[in-house]
Symmetry: C2
Subunit: 201 residues, 2 copies
């Protein structure tokens, strides 16, 4: 069975687009997706950035917003840039790791993106994250408590370190059969690569 | 008639991909393309960069090379990264402006990209550029002399200043009906936008 690692940061605009698209596309390609939340900000820091390149370069940031507006319009999903941008994704990423061990991590990640880039909510706020967990029918208090545990901190740090070791420098990124694909625009190619490599082995 | 401005730098890898693809796609979309060579390095300088971001961030640079290899394989065209990268594109860009006023600028631009990213030649070398002009059946000595004229220097500078004023921060970029699209990946969307806006007016 072909598999694809989907590395995403919950503060990343283009990861939102990939999260919206990846389910049906992976199903059609018969590829199993492993959802891998990580902290892109930690990788930016090792590169000498203290914020998103979209903030450091205003023309690039303006184009990103307009590009997301156009692409979301085509996909039929809403888009608005939340404030602050990028959000602090440490808590959301930690809760995603909790959810992934309990079977609700993918739904949680999609719901975080909808709240953040559909409604413009600040996912750095614990109350926003707790409300999302509750709406999924889970125990928000327990999930947020577990999100602060050493086990989950280690898991999120390990995912980030693995991403960096794989050469990941942006999100979303897709990894399959030793190949790294960067960006929502490469989702189809990454899935196709996963499928064709799985057939050969 | 729908028109699209294609802003490209002759040292840009992804502009090579766009130059390979844009002719047939624009014809199919019934869109007229205006080829607009400019100097991306001059815009990078105003942003505080002295070289390509692909050189400043080695993981990003490695991914760009692998991504271009994969995409060129799909397109059936060769790819190799020349040295130095990025090349000095001042001379090639100037000669492109000469050619565009004389009817051979598009063929010249495609030939420069093939020499640079297909054969790995250094397009900063006058002899390389002269050979390309000659192979197009043009007078290389006259073209290179005119490339150094005040008229052509002004034209290249004006294109670069217009690009910057339009918010362009990378290459290739496509502009139509006041909308800016960045990157080879947006070529189809930009053409579609040009076509649909032309229909409405």
């Amino acid at each position: 069975m072909a598999t694809l690692d989907f590395f995403y940061d919950l503060a990343s605009t283009y990861s939102y687009l990939a999260a919206v698209r990846i389910g049906p596309l992976a199903q059609a390609a018969d590829v199993t997706v492993r959802w891998r939340p990580f902290l892109l900000g930690a990788i930016f820091k090792t590169q000498g950035y203290n914020t998103s390149p979209f903030n450091l370069h205003p023309p690039k940031g303006r184009n990103m917003v307009r590009d997301c507006e156009r692409q979301c319009a085509e996909l039929g999903v809403p888009f608005r840039l939340p404030s602050p941008f990028p959000a602090m994704s440490l808590l959301a990423g930690s809760v995603a790791h909790v959810g992934l061990t309990e079977g609700w991590g993918e739904d949680f990640s999609r719901a975080v993106y909808r709240a953040e880039f559909g409604e413009g909510l600040d996912i750095g706020e614990p109350a926003v994250i707790a409300a999302i967990v509750s709406r999924l029918g889970q125990d928000a208090e327990a999930a947020l408590a577990r999100a602060g545990s050493a086990e989950i901190k280690t898991a999120l740090r390990a995912a980030t370190e693995e991403a960096e070791a794989l050469g990941i420098f942006g999100a979303p990124s897709f990894v399959t059969a030793g190949e790294l694909f960067w960006g929502n625009d490469r989702l189809e190619q990454a899935l196709s690569w996963a499928k064709s490599r799985a057939k050969r082995t």
